[in-house]
């Protein structure tokens, strides 16, 4: 089932690309959700030949949490904050896409130098998971709106997750659950924080928070 796992990873790469180029926040929420679900589906597809209860339970949990619950929480925040579009980001969208291509090329280079050649994993999994981490970090740095920074955090987490699943195979159940719980709480807290920022200041640009005085 390596082909299916490969396809999941390439689809994740597509979501990265659109996330880099879109200003629409609802689309962003949906894409982040889709990417999370794809990460869960990757876990399943990569181990589909010997499915264990552990793998089944974990990928189902991830699909439900990242694919359904997180988008729900974020969409609700978005609705309350009454925001539709990201205002001018620090890095314009076309430039973001071009930088994304540079990041993709460098993650291919990095992954070619990692000593993981002996493992039977889909060839695109490692470079694209590294690219996903880069994209997440980039979104946190290059966007103004608090919600887009939450996207960045989630994309980063998806990248780390697929990277871990690709090179380590199975991690202890407790570790995975712990990470998932952390992300869950983080999304919840960030959702609330974004809502409060936008209610206090009628916008959610984080750069303007730095001029606050008491």
């Amino acid at each position: 089932m390596n082909e299916v796992a490969d396809l999941m990873v390439v689809l994740m790469a597509m979501t990265n690309l659109i996330l880099l180029g879109t200003a629409r926040l609802t689309l962003g929420v949906r894409l982040v959700g889709a990417q999370g679900a794809l990460a869960g589906a990757y876990m399943f597809a990569a181990n589909a030949e010997h499915p264990t209860v552990h793998v089944l339970a974990l990928s189902a949990l991830i699909i439900v949490a990242k694919g359904l619950v997180f988008p729900k929480v974020l969409l609700r925040t978005l609705e309350k904050a009454e925001a539709r579009h990201e205002m001018e980001p620090y890095v314009p969208y076309s430039a973001s896409i071009l930088l994304g291509m540079v990041m993709l090329a460098s993650s291919v280079w990095v992954s070619s130098r990692l000593p993981i050649a002996g493992l039977t994993i889909p060839p695109s999994a490692v470079p694209i998971s590294i690219w996903t981490m880069f994209t997440g970090l980039f979104l946190v740095v290059a966007r103004r709106a608090a919600l887009t920074q939450v996207f960045g955090y989630l994309v980063l987490e998806n990248g780390i997750y697929v990277f871990g699943a690709a090179i380590a195979g199975e991690m202890p159940f407790l570790v995975e659950m712990g990470a998932l719980l952390d992300v869950f709480v983080a999304v919840f807290v960030m959702g609330v924080a974004v809502f409060h920022i936008s209610r206090e200041f009628e916008h959610m640009d984080t750069d303007r928070l730095s001029v606050l005085r008491d």
Partner: protein, 306 residues
């Protein structure tokens, strides 16, 4: 290769069916909007009507203005001779003919733009400037798609590339081919001035690109331009059809039927895109093309990783 007997077929199909392709797009748009729509053969009627009219030339124009449509049509007919269709090899084929393919499209564009500038009208100058801007972004995307296809198939002529793409290649490298098909579709829409980039129905000089450049042409000249535009649709769509539906059964007529159905499918898809999307703001168009280019780069890198 018995298929070489059919190498004049792509040209014959292109020359006869290209206006019909536009008819399908218009009919799809009409159906989605709940209208009855113009006849499927309207483009042919228009060409016939225009060919029987006289041409009007402004006193500011020179010979360049008269040459523009002729050169454009000649260039695109030459491109048609290089385009494979339905597994039939093209009329002319040599190693590296994809460079000539892109170059001749450039010649056609240049002829249209310089004829537009020759009118001295500021609107047409604006249209020419936009065309130059967008096509300079669309051409690298076309190149990238060619590069990916050449790398995947190991061939450097359009005919050989198309005969190498088949179910075996799709099974081996579906993501690359799908990404390339997407970026080729974006090139198809941008080069043919279809909706996310330009609106073929618009009548506002300020917003249009292709239509504004040909405002001053009339009669047979305009017929040439319309026909050349239809052929450009056909040529780029048959490139795309060769990637998305490579049917090589060995029976020429089955292959041709499949290819014609694919072309009709592309026309319907174009009509649907035009029905559900609005034209992008001018400043957003480069983003679309950069995105299409990024898809090409991704296809290339995914292929390198294997």
């Amino acid at each position: 290769m018995t298929m070489y007997e059919y190498s004049c077929l792509p040209v014959v199909f292109g020359l006869t069916l290209a206006p019909f392709f536009l008819g399908i797009i218009n009919r799809t748009k009409a159906k989605v909007a709940g209208r009855q729509g113009q006849p499927l053969l309207q483009a042919y009627f228009d060409l016939w009507k225009l060919l029987h009219k006289g041409a009007v030339y402004s006193r500011t124009t020179t010979g360049i203005f008269i040459l523009g449509p002729v050169v454009g049509l000649a260039a695109i007919v030459a491109v048609l001779g290089l385009t494979p269709f339905a597994g039939c090899p093209p009329l002319f084929s040599f190693i590296g003919d994809l460079i000539l393919f892109a170059g001749l499209l450039g010649v056609m564009r240049f002829a249209t733009m310089i004829a537009a500038l020759d009118t001295g009208s500021s609107f047409e100058g604006m249209g020419a400037s936009r065309e130059a801007w967008f096509s300079s972004l669309a051409e690298p995307v076309l190149w990238l798609s060619f590069a990916v296809l050449a790398r995947l198939t190991g061939q450097f002529s359009l005919g050989a590339i198309q005969s190498e793409i088949g179910s075996a290649l799709w099974a081996a490298s579906a993501p690359e081919l799908a990404l390339t098909a997407l970026s080729l579709f974006a090139v198809f829409l941008a080069e043919n001035a279809r909706i996310p980039v330009d609106d073929p129905n618009t009548h506002l000089e300020l917003t249009m690109i292709h239509e504004v450049m040909v405002l001053d042409h009339s009669g047979p000249d305009f017929a040439f331009i319309q026909y050349a535009a239809a052929l450009k649709h056909w040529v780029l769509a048959s490139l795309l059809a060769g990637v998305i539906a490579p049917v090589h059964t060995g029976h020429a007529w089955i292959d041709i039927t499949a290819a014609l159905l694919t072309m009709a499918g592309i026309a319907v898809a174009t009509g649907l895109v035009e029905s559900v999307m609005a034209r992008l703001r001018l400043t957003r168009v480069p983003q679309l093309l950069v995105g299409a280019g990024a898809l090409g780069v991704m296809a290339f890198i995914v292929d390198i990783m294997r």
